[in-house]
Amino acid sequence: MNPILEAPTLITWVGSVNWTVGFLTTVGIFAIVALALNLQWGYTGVFNFGVVAFFMVGAYTSSLLTLEPASEFEDYAFGLEWPIPVGWAAGALAAGVLALLVGLPTLRLRRDFLAIATIGVATILRSVVNSTEGLANRGAGLNGIPRFLDGLADGADYRWVMLGIVLVMLAFSYLVLQAATASPWGRVLRGIRDNEDTAMAAGKHTTVFRMQSFVLGGMMMGLAGAIFAHRQGAISPTGFSDLFGTFLVWTMLIVGGSGNNRGAVLGALAVGFFWFGTPLIQEDLPDFLGTRVFQLRELAIGALIIIFLLLRPGGLLEEQPRVSRFVPKPGRRPAVATAGHEEGGP
Protein backbone atom coordinates (compact mmCIF):
# COMPACT_ATOMS: atom_id res chain seq x y z
CA MET A 1 0.00 0.00 0.00
CA ASN A 2 1.10 3.54 -0.58
CA PRO A 3 3.02 4.65 2.53
CA ILE A 4 1.62 8.17 2.24
CA LEU A 5 -1.89 6.81 2.64
CA GLU A 6 -0.83 4.40 5.34
CA ALA A 7 0.75 6.93 7.71
CA PRO A 8 -2.40 8.75 8.85
CA THR A 9 -4.15 5.43 9.40
CA LEU A 10 -1.32 4.36 11.68
CA ILE A 11 -1.54 7.55 13.72
CA THR A 12 -5.28 7.17 14.01
CA TRP A 13 -4.87 3.55 15.07
CA VAL A 14 -2.34 4.35 17.80
CA GLY A 15 -4.41 7.34 18.79
CA SER A 16 -7.58 5.35 19.10
CA VAL A 17 -5.89 2.58 21.10
CA ASN A 18 -4.52 5.15 23.50
CA TRP A 19 -7.85 6.85 23.69
CA THR A 20 -9.64 3.55 24.31
CA VAL A 21 -7.24 2.54 27.09
CA GLY A 22 -7.68 5.89 28.80
CA PHE A 23 -11.42 5.79 28.26
CA LEU A 24 -11.80 2.30 29.72
CA THR A 25 -9.69 3.31 32.73
CA THR A 26 -11.91 6.31 33.43
CA VAL A 27 -15.10 4.34 32.84
CA GLY A 28 -13.85 1.55 35.10
CA ILE A 29 -13.47 4.02 37.95
CA PHE A 30 -16.91 5.47 37.25
CA ALA A 31 -18.34 1.96 37.14
CA ILE A 32 -17.19 1.38 40.73
CA VAL A 33 -18.98 4.57 41.78
CA ALA A 34 -22.09 3.55 39.83
CA LEU A 35 -22.05 0.16 41.58
CA ALA A 36 -21.82 1.92 44.93
CA LEU A 37 -24.70 4.23 44.08
CA ASN A 38 -26.66 1.21 42.92
CA LEU A 39 -26.29 -0.27 46.39
CA GLN A 40 -27.53 2.93 48.01
CA TRP A 41 -30.24 3.98 45.59
CA GLY A 42 -30.92 0.94 43.40
CA TYR A 43 -31.27 -1.50 46.27
CA THR A 44 -32.05 0.59 49.33
CA GLY A 45 -33.73 3.71 47.96
CA VAL A 46 -31.27 5.94 49.80
CA PHE A 47 -31.19 9.23 47.93
CA ASN A 48 -27.52 10.24 47.76
CA PHE A 49 -27.07 13.46 45.82
CA GLY A 50 -23.57 13.99 47.19
CA VAL A 51 -21.77 11.09 45.54
CA VAL A 52 -18.86 13.37 44.72
CA ALA A 53 -18.30 14.12 48.41
CA PHE A 54 -17.43 10.50 49.19
CA PHE A 55 -15.37 10.21 46.01
CA MET A 56 -13.46 13.35 46.98
CA VAL A 57 -12.83 12.25 50.55
CA GLY A 58 -11.34 9.02 49.24
CA ALA A 59 -9.18 10.88 46.71
CA TYR A 60 -7.83 13.41 49.20
CA THR A 61 -7.31 10.95 52.05
CA SER A 62 -5.29 8.54 49.96
CA SER A 63 -3.29 11.36 48.33
CA LEU A 64 -2.38 13.07 51.58
CA LEU A 65 -1.27 9.81 53.19
CA THR A 66 0.89 8.66 50.26
CA LEU A 67 2.43 11.97 49.15
CA GLU A 68 5.87 13.13 50.18
CA PRO A 69 5.94 15.76 52.93
CA ALA A 70 4.89 19.20 51.69
CA SER A 71 7.64 21.33 50.16
CA GLU A 72 8.12 24.98 51.09
CA PHE A 73 5.85 25.99 48.20
CA GLU A 74 3.04 23.73 49.26
CA ASP A 75 0.71 23.71 52.20
CA TYR A 76 -0.84 20.40 53.09
CA ALA A 77 -1.08 18.05 56.06
CA PHE A 78 0.36 14.55 56.44
CA GLY A 79 2.54 13.61 53.47
CA LEU A 80 3.40 10.34 55.16
CA GLU A 81 4.57 8.37 52.10
CA TRP A 82 2.45 5.40 53.10
CA PRO A 83 2.15 2.48 50.66
CA ILE A 84 -0.52 3.21 48.08
CA PRO A 85 -2.85 0.24 48.87
CA VAL A 86 -2.90 1.43 52.50
CA GLY A 87 -3.83 4.88 51.21
CA TRP A 88 -6.71 3.35 49.26
CA ALA A 89 -7.97 1.45 52.27
CA ALA A 90 -7.74 4.63 54.34
CA GLY A 91 -9.60 6.54 51.61
CA ALA A 92 -12.42 4.00 51.67
CA LEU A 93 -12.49 4.08 55.46
CA ALA A 94 -12.60 7.88 55.61
CA ALA A 95 -15.49 7.98 53.14
CA GLY A 96 -17.25 5.34 55.25
CA VAL A 97 -16.84 7.50 58.34
CA LEU A 98 -18.28 10.46 56.43
CA ALA A 99 -21.27 8.30 55.41
CA LEU A 100 -21.78 7.32 59.04
CA LEU A 101 -21.66 10.94 60.20
CA VAL A 102 -24.06 12.12 57.50
CA GLY A 103 -26.33 9.11 57.95
CA LEU A 104 -26.72 9.28 61.73
CA PRO A 105 -28.90 12.38 61.79
CA THR A 106 -30.56 11.94 58.38
CA LEU A 107 -31.22 8.27 57.67
CA ARG A 108 -34.19 8.17 60.03
CA LEU A 109 -35.81 10.95 58.02
CA ARG A 110 -37.65 10.73 54.75
CA ARG A 111 -35.46 10.21 51.74
CA ASP A 112 -35.73 13.77 50.37
CA PHE A 113 -33.97 15.10 53.44
CA LEU A 114 -30.97 12.92 52.79
CA ALA A 115 -30.79 14.21 49.21
CA ILE A 116 -30.58 17.78 50.47
CA ALA A 117 -28.13 16.91 53.24
CA THR A 118 -25.76 15.04 50.93
CA ILE A 119 -25.70 17.73 48.26
CA GLY A 120 -24.86 20.16 51.05
CA VAL A 121 -22.02 17.97 52.29
CA ALA A 122 -20.38 18.01 48.84
CA THR A 123 -20.52 21.80 48.69
CA ILE A 124 -19.18 22.20 52.23
CA LEU A 125 -16.35 19.78 51.53
CA ARG A 126 -15.15 21.71 48.49
CA SER A 127 -15.26 24.95 50.49
CA VAL A 128 -13.33 23.39 53.34
CA VAL A 129 -10.57 22.17 51.03
CA ASN A 130 -10.50 25.53 49.26
CA SER A 131 -10.30 27.64 52.37
CA THR A 132 -8.50 25.64 55.07
CA GLU A 133 -4.85 26.42 55.49
CA GLY A 134 -2.51 23.52 56.09
CA LEU A 135 -5.03 20.89 55.01
CA ALA A 136 -4.79 20.08 51.30
CA ASN A 137 -3.02 22.95 49.55
CA ARG A 138 -6.35 24.77 49.03
CA GLY A 139 -7.32 25.73 45.47
CA ALA A 140 -3.93 24.85 43.98
CA GLY A 141 -4.62 21.21 44.65
CA LEU A 142 -2.27 18.32 45.21
CA ASN A 143 0.37 17.41 42.66
CA GLY A 144 2.78 14.56 42.21
CA ILE A 145 0.45 11.95 43.69
CA PRO A 146 2.40 8.71 43.28
CA ARG A 147 1.41 6.01 40.80
CA PHE A 148 0.69 2.48 41.94
CA LEU A 149 3.04 -0.25 40.59
CA ASP A 150 5.07 2.44 38.83
CA GLY A 151 7.97 0.07 38.23
CA LEU A 152 6.01 -2.26 35.94
CA ALA A 153 6.10 -0.07 32.85
CA ASP A 154 7.79 3.07 31.58
CA GLY A 155 6.23 6.27 30.36
CA ALA A 156 3.25 5.91 28.09
CA ASP A 157 3.09 2.14 28.57
CA TYR A 158 2.03 2.68 32.19
CA ARG A 159 -1.50 3.33 30.90
CA TRP A 160 -1.85 -0.44 30.39
CA VAL A 161 -0.83 -1.10 33.99
CA MET A 162 -3.35 1.48 35.19
CA LEU A 163 -6.10 -0.09 33.10
CA GLY A 164 -5.26 -3.47 34.61
CA ILE A 165 -5.39 -2.08 38.15
CA VAL A 166 -8.75 -0.43 37.53
CA LEU A 167 -10.24 -3.56 35.97
CA VAL A 168 -9.06 -5.68 38.90
CA MET A 169 -10.55 -3.21 41.37
CA LEU A 170 -13.78 -3.08 39.38
CA ALA A 171 -14.01 -6.87 39.42
CA PHE A 172 -13.35 -6.84 43.17
CA SER A 173 -16.05 -4.20 43.77
CA TYR A 174 -18.53 -6.07 41.60
CA LEU A 175 -17.97 -9.35 43.41
CA VAL A 176 -18.17 -7.75 46.85
CA LEU A 177 -21.42 -5.96 46.04
CA GLN A 178 -22.98 -8.79 44.08
CA ALA A 179 -22.31 -11.23 46.93
CA ALA A 180 -23.77 -8.73 49.38
CA THR A 181 -26.91 -7.88 47.42
CA ALA A 182 -27.83 -11.26 45.91
CA SER A 183 -28.51 -12.51 49.42
CA PRO A 184 -30.98 -12.20 52.28
CA TRP A 185 -29.23 -8.93 53.13
CA GLY A 186 -30.08 -7.53 49.69
CA ARG A 187 -33.64 -8.82 50.08
CA VAL A 188 -34.06 -6.75 53.23
CA LEU A 189 -32.68 -3.69 51.41
CA ARG A 190 -35.18 -4.13 48.59
CA GLY A 191 -37.92 -4.63 51.13
CA ILE A 192 -37.00 -1.33 52.78
CA ARG A 193 -36.86 0.41 49.40
CA ASP A 194 -40.29 -0.78 48.29
CA ASN A 195 -42.20 -0.72 51.56
CA GLU A 196 -40.59 0.13 54.85
CA ASP A 197 -43.71 -0.77 56.86
CA THR A 198 -43.59 -4.29 55.48
CA ALA A 199 -39.90 -4.62 56.23
CA MET A 200 -40.47 -3.50 59.82
CA ALA A 201 -43.47 -5.77 60.25
CA ALA A 202 -41.20 -8.57 59.00
CA GLY A 203 -38.96 -7.88 61.98
CA LYS A 204 -36.20 -5.87 60.32
CA HIS A 205 -34.46 -2.98 62.07
CA THR A 206 -34.67 -0.88 58.92
CA THR A 207 -32.51 2.04 60.07
CA VAL A 208 -29.58 -0.27 60.76
CA PHE A 209 -29.82 -1.91 57.35
CA ARG A 210 -30.12 1.45 55.61
CA MET A 211 -27.04 2.65 57.45
CA GLN A 212 -25.04 -0.45 56.48
CA SER A 213 -25.94 0.08 52.84
CA PHE A 214 -25.13 3.79 52.95
CA VAL A 215 -21.77 3.25 54.64
CA LEU A 216 -20.69 0.36 52.41
CA GLY A 217 -21.68 2.37 49.33
CA GLY A 218 -19.81 5.40 50.67
CA MET A 219 -16.69 3.28 51.21
CA MET A 220 -16.81 2.02 47.62
CA MET A 221 -17.12 5.59 46.38
CA GLY A 222 -14.13 6.53 48.50
CA LEU A 223 -12.13 3.64 47.08
CA ALA A 224 -12.94 4.76 43.55
CA GLY A 225 -11.92 8.30 44.43
CA ALA A 226 -8.60 7.07 45.79
CA ILE A 227 -7.86 5.09 42.63
CA PHE A 228 -8.83 8.13 40.59
CA ALA A 229 -6.41 10.44 42.44
CA HIS A 230 -3.43 8.16 41.87
CA ARG A 231 -4.34 7.79 38.24
CA GLN A 232 -4.64 11.54 37.68
CA GLY A 233 -1.51 12.36 39.65
CA ALA A 234 -2.98 15.76 40.47
CA ILE A 235 -6.30 16.77 42.01
CA SER A 236 -7.94 20.04 42.97
CA PRO A 237 -11.34 20.96 44.43
CA THR A 238 -12.69 22.32 41.14
CA GLY A 239 -12.21 18.91 39.57
CA PHE A 240 -14.84 17.42 41.86
CA SER A 241 -17.93 19.15 40.52
CA ASP A 242 -21.46 17.95 41.20
CA LEU A 243 -22.02 17.47 37.51
CA PHE A 244 -18.95 15.28 37.03
CA GLY A 245 -18.99 13.40 40.30
CA THR A 246 -22.66 13.08 41.13
CA PHE A 247 -25.05 13.63 38.25
CA LEU A 248 -23.01 11.80 35.65
CA VAL A 249 -23.03 8.78 37.97
CA TRP A 250 -26.77 9.07 38.49
CA THR A 251 -27.24 9.13 34.72
CA MET A 252 -25.08 6.02 34.39
CA LEU A 253 -27.19 4.17 36.95
CA ILE A 254 -30.54 5.23 35.50
CA VAL A 255 -29.48 4.41 31.93
CA GLY A 256 -27.80 1.14 32.91
CA GLY A 257 -30.53 -0.17 35.16
CA SER A 258 -31.13 0.77 38.76
CA GLY A 259 -31.19 -2.31 40.99
CA ASN A 260 -28.97 -4.36 38.66
CA ASN A 261 -25.21 -4.47 39.32
CA ARG A 262 -24.37 -5.47 35.76
CA GLY A 263 -26.64 -2.65 34.61
CA ALA A 264 -24.63 -0.16 36.66
CA VAL A 265 -21.42 -1.24 34.90
CA LEU A 266 -23.06 -1.21 31.47
CA GLY A 267 -24.51 2.23 32.19
CA ALA A 268 -21.07 3.54 33.11
CA LEU A 269 -19.77 2.28 29.77
CA ALA A 270 -22.68 3.63 27.71
CA VAL A 271 -22.97 7.05 29.32
CA GLY A 272 -19.19 7.27 29.61
CA PHE A 273 -18.87 6.69 25.88
CA PHE A 274 -21.47 9.36 25.26
CA TRP A 275 -19.80 11.83 27.65
CA PHE A 276 -16.15 11.29 26.79
CA GLY A 277 -16.82 10.46 23.14
CA THR A 278 -18.60 13.65 22.13
CA PRO A 279 -15.39 15.74 22.02
CA LEU A 280 -14.03 13.26 19.44
CA ILE A 281 -16.68 14.18 16.88
CA GLN A 282 -16.32 17.88 17.58
CA GLU A 283 -14.43 18.53 14.34
CA ASP A 284 -16.93 16.65 12.24
CA LEU A 285 -19.85 18.67 13.52
CA PRO A 286 -21.04 21.84 11.82
CA ASP A 287 -19.50 24.91 13.45
CA PHE A 288 -22.56 26.08 15.34
CA LEU A 289 -22.67 22.69 17.12
CA GLY A 290 -18.95 21.95 17.28
CA THR A 291 -18.10 25.06 19.24
CA ARG A 292 -20.77 24.23 21.79
CA VAL A 293 -20.20 20.52 22.11
CA PHE A 294 -19.25 20.65 25.80
CA GLN A 295 -22.34 22.63 26.70
CA LEU A 296 -24.53 20.47 24.50
CA ARG A 297 -23.40 17.24 26.11
CA GLU A 298 -24.48 18.57 29.49
CA LEU A 299 -27.86 19.34 28.00
CA ALA A 300 -27.96 15.91 26.43
CA ILE A 301 -27.25 14.22 29.76
CA GLY A 302 -30.35 15.86 31.20
CA ALA A 303 -32.35 14.78 28.18
CA LEU A 304 -30.99 11.25 28.51
CA ILE A 305 -32.21 10.95 32.11
CA ILE A 306 -35.68 12.16 31.16
CA ILE A 307 -35.90 9.93 28.10
CA PHE A 308 -34.96 6.87 30.11
CA LEU A 309 -37.22 7.67 33.05
CA LEU A 310 -40.16 8.10 30.66
CA LEU A 311 -39.54 5.35 28.13
CA ARG A 312 -37.46 2.75 29.91
CA PRO A 313 -37.53 3.41 33.65
CA GLY A 314 -35.90 0.04 34.35
CA GLY A 315 -32.80 0.99 32.34
CA LEU A 316 -30.91 -1.09 29.78
CA LEU A 317 -30.61 -4.10 32.11
CA GLU A 318 -33.66 -4.28 34.32
CA GLU A 319 -33.75 -5.45 37.90
CA GLN A 320 -34.13 -9.19 38.38
CA PRO A 321 -37.18 -10.40 40.32
CA ARG A 322 -35.03 -13.03 42.05
CA VAL A 323 -33.06 -11.32 44.81
CA SER A 324 -31.17 -13.94 46.78
CA ARG A 325 -28.86 -16.22 44.79
CA PHE A 326 -29.68 -18.94 47.32
CA VAL A 327 -33.36 -19.14 46.41
CA PRO A 328 -34.07 -22.31 44.46
CA LYS A 329 -35.01 -21.60 40.86
CA PRO A 330 -38.49 -22.51 39.62
CA GLY A 331 -38.82 -26.20 38.85
CA ARG A 332 -36.16 -27.14 41.38
CA ARG A 333 -38.22 -26.94 44.51
CA PRO A 334 -36.99 -28.61 47.63
CA ALA A 335 -38.48 -32.00 48.37
CA VAL A 336 -39.70 -30.84 51.77
CA ALA A 337 -42.02 -28.32 50.17
CA THR A 338 -43.76 -30.97 48.08
CA ALA A 339 -44.42 -32.96 51.20
CA GLY A 340 -45.66 -29.83 52.90
CA HIS A 341 -48.07 -29.25 50.07
CA GLU A 342 -49.70 -32.62 50.54
CA GLU A 343 -49.95 -32.19 54.28
CA GLY A 344 -51.24 -28.67 53.99
CA GLY A 345 -54.06 -29.62 51.60
CA PRO A 346 -57.60 -29.85 52.91
Binding site: P184, G191, N195, D197, M200, A202, G203, Q212, P321, V327
Partner: protein
Protein backbone atom coordinates in the same frame (compact mmCIF):
# COMPACT_ATOMS: atom_id res chain seq x y z
CA UNK B 1 -61.29 -24.32 72.96
CA UNK B 2 -64.75 -23.41 74.13
CA UNK B 3 -65.86 -19.93 74.99
CA UNK B 4 -65.74 -20.71 78.69
CA UNK B 5 -62.17 -21.95 78.47
CA UNK B 6 -61.19 -18.91 76.47
CA UNK B 7 -62.66 -16.64 79.11
CA UNK B 8 -60.70 -18.25 81.91
CA UNK B 9 -57.37 -18.81 80.09
CA UNK B 10 -54.59 -16.38 81.07
CA UNK B 11 -54.33 -13.35 78.81
CA UNK B 12 -51.53 -13.28 76.23
CA UNK B 13 -52.30 -9.66 75.41
CA UNK B 14 -53.54 -6.97 77.78
CA UNK B 15 -54.48 -3.60 76.40
CA UNK B 16 -54.93 -1.11 79.21
CA UNK B 17 -56.37 2.40 78.84
CA UNK B 18 -54.83 2.75 75.39
CA UNK B 19 -54.98 6.25 73.93
CA UNK B 20 -54.04 7.68 70.55
CA UNK B 21 -54.88 11.17 69.37
CA UNK B 22 -54.53 12.68 65.91
CA UNK B 23 -54.76 16.40 66.52
CA UNK B 24 -58.05 16.88 68.35
CA UNK B 25 -59.42 13.53 67.26
CA UNK B 26 -59.22 10.82 69.92
CA UNK B 27 -59.00 7.82 67.64
CA UNK B 28 -58.40 5.46 70.54
CA UNK B 29 -59.73 6.81 73.81
CA UNK B 30 -58.96 4.54 76.73
CA UNK B 31 -59.53 1.14 75.15
CA UNK B 32 -59.09 -1.72 77.61
CA UNK B 33 -59.39 -5.42 76.83
CA UNK B 34 -57.61 -8.76 77.20
CA UNK B 35 -57.00 -11.47 74.65
CA UNK B 36 -56.90 -15.00 76.06
CA UNK B 37 -53.98 -17.21 75.08
CA UNK B 38 -54.91 -19.61 72.32
CA UNK B 39 -58.16 -17.84 71.52
CA UNK B 40 -59.46 -16.38 68.29
CA UNK B 41 -60.77 -13.02 69.37
CA UNK B 42 -62.71 -10.66 67.13
CA UNK B 43 -62.38 -6.90 67.26
CA UNK B 44 -65.45 -5.32 65.71
CA UNK B 45 -67.06 -1.93 65.60
CA UNK B 46 -68.38 0.64 63.15
CA UNK B 47 -66.05 2.49 60.77
CA UNK B 48 -63.94 4.98 62.67
CA UNK B 49 -64.25 3.11 65.96
CA UNK B 50 -60.45 3.01 66.26
CA UNK B 51 -59.86 -0.67 65.54
CA UNK B 52 -57.01 -0.26 63.06
CA UNK B 53 -55.42 2.54 65.11
CA UNK B 54 -55.60 0.21 68.09
CA UNK B 55 -53.83 -2.48 66.02
CA UNK B 56 -51.15 -0.05 64.94
CA UNK B 57 -50.51 0.92 68.56
CA UNK B 58 -50.28 -2.70 69.66
CA UNK B 59 -47.97 -3.69 66.78
CA UNK B 60 -45.73 -0.65 67.24
CA UNK B 61 -46.51 1.08 63.95
CA UNK B 62 -47.89 3.98 66.00
CA UNK B 63 -46.69 5.16 69.38
CA UNK B 64 -49.67 5.42 71.75
CA UNK B 65 -50.23 8.67 73.65
CA UNK B 66 -51.28 6.85 76.78
CA UNK B 67 -51.99 3.47 78.28
CA UNK B 68 -50.12 0.20 78.20
CA UNK B 69 -49.80 -2.84 75.98
CA UNK B 70 -48.54 -6.00 77.67
CA UNK B 71 -47.76 -8.96 75.43
CA UNK B 72 -46.81 -12.32 76.88
CA UNK B 73 -45.94 -10.73 80.20
CA UNK B 74 -43.78 -8.01 78.64
CA UNK B 75 -44.56 -4.35 78.41
CA UNK B 76 -44.32 -3.64 74.67
CA UNK B 77 -45.85 -0.16 74.77
CA UNK B 78 -44.19 2.05 72.19
CA UNK B 79 -41.71 -0.60 71.00
CA UNK B 80 -40.89 -0.35 67.29
CA UNK B 81 -42.60 -2.90 65.01
CA UNK B 82 -39.49 -5.01 64.42
CA UNK B 83 -39.10 -5.56 68.17
CA UNK B 84 -42.72 -6.57 68.57
CA UNK B 85 -42.35 -9.00 65.66
CA UNK B 86 -39.20 -10.47 67.16
CA UNK B 87 -41.08 -11.04 70.43
CA UNK B 88 -43.56 -13.24 68.59
CA UNK B 89 -46.44 -10.96 67.58
CA UNK B 90 -46.96 -10.37 63.86
CA UNK B 91 -49.65 -8.48 61.99
CA UNK B 92 -51.27 -8.14 58.60
CA UNK B 93 -52.29 -4.88 56.99
CA UNK B 94 -55.83 -3.95 56.05
CA UNK B 95 -54.55 -2.92 52.64
CA UNK B 96 -52.03 -5.61 51.67
CA UNK B 97 -48.45 -4.33 51.70
CA UNK B 98 -46.75 -6.92 49.57
CA UNK B 99 -43.43 -6.20 47.86
CA UNK B 100 -44.58 -6.16 44.25
CA UNK B 101 -41.15 -6.34 42.62
CA UNK B 102 -40.28 -9.58 44.43
CA UNK B 103 -41.56 -13.11 43.96
CA UNK B 104 -44.27 -14.37 46.27
CA UNK B 105 -41.76 -16.86 47.61
CA UNK B 106 -39.20 -14.22 48.56
CA UNK B 107 -41.91 -12.02 50.04
CA UNK B 108 -42.34 -14.82 52.53
CA UNK B 109 -38.66 -15.61 52.94
CA UNK B 110 -38.03 -11.99 53.86
CA UNK B 111 -40.21 -12.51 56.92
CA UNK B 112 -38.01 -15.24 58.37
CA UNK B 113 -36.53 -14.05 61.66
CA UNK B 114 -32.86 -13.94 62.58
CA UNK B 115 -31.40 -14.92 59.21
CA UNK B 116 -27.66 -15.48 58.99
CA UNK B 117 -27.67 -14.08 55.44
CA UNK B 118 -28.91 -10.75 56.70
CA UNK B 119 -25.49 -10.17 58.20
CA UNK B 120 -23.05 -8.90 55.60
CA UNK B 121 -20.03 -10.89 56.71
CA UNK B 122 -21.98 -14.13 56.62
CA UNK B 123 -23.22 -13.50 53.08
CA UNK B 124 -19.57 -12.86 52.09
CA UNK B 125 -17.66 -15.42 54.09
CA UNK B 126 -20.12 -18.13 55.12
CA UNK B 127 -22.31 -18.64 52.06
CA UNK B 128 -22.81 -22.35 52.82
CA UNK B 129 -24.49 -21.45 56.09
CA UNK B 130 -26.70 -18.90 54.36
CA UNK B 131 -27.51 -21.42 51.61
CA UNK B 132 -28.69 -23.98 54.16
CA UNK B 133 -30.85 -21.46 55.96
CA UNK B 134 -32.31 -20.31 52.65
CA UNK B 135 -33.28 -23.89 51.79
CA UNK B 136 -35.08 -24.19 55.12
CA UNK B 137 -36.80 -20.85 54.68
CA UNK B 138 -37.90 -21.75 51.15
CA UNK B 139 -39.31 -25.04 52.42
CA UNK B 140 -41.22 -23.26 55.18
CA UNK B 141 -42.49 -20.67 52.69
CA UNK B 142 -43.73 -23.42 50.35
CA UNK B 143 -45.60 -25.05 53.25
CA UNK B 144 -47.36 -21.80 54.06
CA UNK B 145 -48.12 -21.14 50.40
CA UNK B 146 -49.75 -24.55 50.23
CA UNK B 147 -51.76 -23.66 53.32
CA UNK B 148 -53.21 -20.53 51.68
CA UNK B 149 -53.51 -22.08 48.20
CA UNK B 150 -50.87 -19.91 46.57
CA UNK B 151 -48.34 -22.67 45.90
CA UNK B 152 -48.77 -22.40 42.13
CA UNK B 153 -47.87 -18.68 42.32
CA UNK B 154 -44.64 -19.08 44.30
CA UNK B 155 -42.47 -17.65 41.54
CA UNK B 156 -44.96 -15.03 40.39
CA UNK B 157 -44.20 -11.37 41.11
CA UNK B 158 -46.34 -10.31 44.05
CA UNK B 159 -47.52 -7.32 41.98
CA UNK B 160 -49.35 -9.73 39.66
CA UNK B 161 -51.54 -11.16 42.43
CA UNK B 162 -55.25 -10.37 42.72
CA UNK B 163 -56.57 -8.45 45.70
CA UNK B 164 -57.75 -11.61 47.43
CA UNK B 165 -54.48 -13.41 46.78
CA UNK B 166 -52.62 -10.50 48.33
CA UNK B 167 -54.70 -10.93 51.47
CA UNK B 168 -53.66 -14.56 51.59
CA UNK B 169 -50.04 -13.62 51.10
CA UNK B 170 -50.38 -11.22 54.05
CA UNK B 171 -51.62 -14.05 56.23
CA UNK B 172 -48.84 -16.37 55.11
CA UNK B 173 -46.24 -13.68 55.76
CA UNK B 174 -47.59 -13.07 59.24
CA UNK B 175 -47.25 -16.81 59.98
CA UNK B 176 -43.76 -17.10 58.49
CA UNK B 177 -41.76 -16.15 61.62
CA UNK B 178 -43.68 -18.76 63.72
CA UNK B 179 -45.43 -16.18 65.89
CA UNK B 180 -47.30 -16.87 69.10
CA UNK B 181 -49.88 -14.23 68.27
CA UNK B 182 -51.14 -12.74 65.03
CA UNK B 183 -53.11 -9.55 64.49
CA UNK B 184 -55.27 -9.85 61.37
CA UNK B 185 -56.76 -6.68 59.93
CA UNK B 186 -59.81 -7.76 57.93
CA UNK B 187 -58.35 -11.04 56.71
CA UNK B 188 -61.29 -11.98 54.51
CA UNK B 189 -62.16 -8.61 52.94
CA UNK B 190 -61.84 -8.96 49.17
CA UNK B 191 -61.33 -12.71 49.33
CA UNK B 192 -63.97 -14.70 47.42
CA UNK B 193 -66.59 -16.27 49.73
CA UNK B 194 -65.54 -19.89 49.14
CA UNK B 195 -61.95 -19.08 49.91
CA UNK B 196 -62.99 -16.95 52.89
CA UNK B 197 -64.62 -19.99 54.46
CA UNK B 198 -61.52 -22.05 53.76
CA UNK B 199 -59.34 -19.29 55.16
CA UNK B 200 -61.37 -19.26 58.36
CA UNK B 201 -60.87 -23.02 58.62
CA UNK B 202 -57.13 -22.58 58.10
CA UNK B 203 -56.94 -19.95 60.81
CA UNK B 204 -58.71 -22.30 63.20
CA UNK B 205 -56.39 -25.15 62.17
CA UNK B 206 -53.32 -23.03 62.86
CA UNK B 207 -54.70 -22.12 66.25
CA UNK B 208 -55.67 -25.72 67.09
CA UNK B 209 -52.40 -27.27 65.93
CA UNK B 210 -49.85 -24.64 66.91
CA UNK B 211 -51.69 -22.78 69.65
CA UNK B 212 -51.27 -19.45 67.89
CA UNK B 213 -53.54 -16.72 69.26
CA UNK B 214 -55.45 -14.57 66.77
CA UNK B 215 -56.93 -11.13 67.23
CA UNK B 216 -58.80 -10.13 64.12
CA UNK B 217 -60.68 -7.12 62.89
CA UNK B 218 -63.62 -8.15 60.78
CA UNK B 219 -66.65 -6.58 59.20
CA UNK B 220 -68.07 -9.86 57.99
CA UNK B 221 -70.31 -11.04 60.84
CA UNK B 222 -70.49 -14.56 59.41
CA UNK B 223 -66.73 -14.85 59.76
CA UNK B 224 -66.87 -13.49 63.30
CA UNK B 225 -69.62 -15.91 64.26
CA UNK B 226 -67.86 -18.85 62.62
CA UNK B 227 -64.41 -18.17 64.01
CA UNK B 228 -64.31 -16.12 67.18
CA UNK B 229 -64.90 -17.34 70.71
CA UNK B 230 -64.76 -13.84 72.11
CA UNK B 231 -65.68 -10.58 70.52
CA UNK B 232 -64.56 -7.13 71.64
CA UNK B 233 -66.79 -4.34 70.38
CA UNK B 234 -65.27 -0.90 69.96
CA UNK B 235 -67.08 2.37 69.35
CA UNK B 236 -65.64 5.89 69.42
CA UNK B 237 -62.24 4.68 70.54
CA UNK B 238 -63.55 2.77 73.58
CA UNK B 239 -64.56 -0.78 74.29
CA UNK B 240 -68.33 -0.94 74.33
CA UNK B 241 -68.66 -4.52 75.47
CA UNK B 242 -67.12 -7.99 75.20
CA UNK B 243 -68.54 -11.48 75.11
CA UNK B 244 -69.33 -14.42 72.89
CA UNK B 245 -70.60 -13.57 69.42
CA UNK B 246 -74.12 -14.54 70.48
CA UNK B 247 -74.01 -12.30 73.55
CA UNK B 248 -72.59 -9.40 71.66
CA UNK B 249 -75.03 -9.63 68.78
CA UNK B 250 -77.90 -9.75 71.27
CA UNK B 251 -76.70 -6.60 73.03
CA UNK B 252 -78.98 -3.71 72.06
CA UNK B 253 -76.22 -1.15 72.68
CA UNK B 254 -74.06 -2.91 70.11
CA UNK B 255 -76.94 -3.14 67.71
CA UNK B 256 -77.49 0.57 68.02
CA UNK B 257 -73.83 1.46 67.65
CA UNK B 258 -72.98 -0.81 64.84
CA UNK B 259 -75.10 -3.58 63.55
CA UNK B 260 -78.11 -1.56 62.49
CA UNK B 261 -81.78 -2.22 62.75
CA UNK B 262 -81.73 -5.31 60.54
CA UNK B 263 -80.49 -7.35 63.50
CA UNK B 264 -83.18 -6.12 65.86
Amino acid sequence: MTADEAATAPAILRVDQLEKRFGGNRAVDGATFDVARGSITGLIGPNGAGKTTCFNCIAGALRPDGGRVVFDGRDVTGLPPYRVTALGMTRTFQIPQELGAMSVLENLMLAGLDQAGERLWESWFRPWRVAKQERDLAARAHELLALVDLEHLAYELAANLSGGQRKLLELARALMPRPTMVLLDEPSAGVNPTLAVKLADHIRDVRDELGVTFLLIAHDMDVVERLCETVVVMASGRVLTEGTPAEVFANTEVQDAYLGSQYR
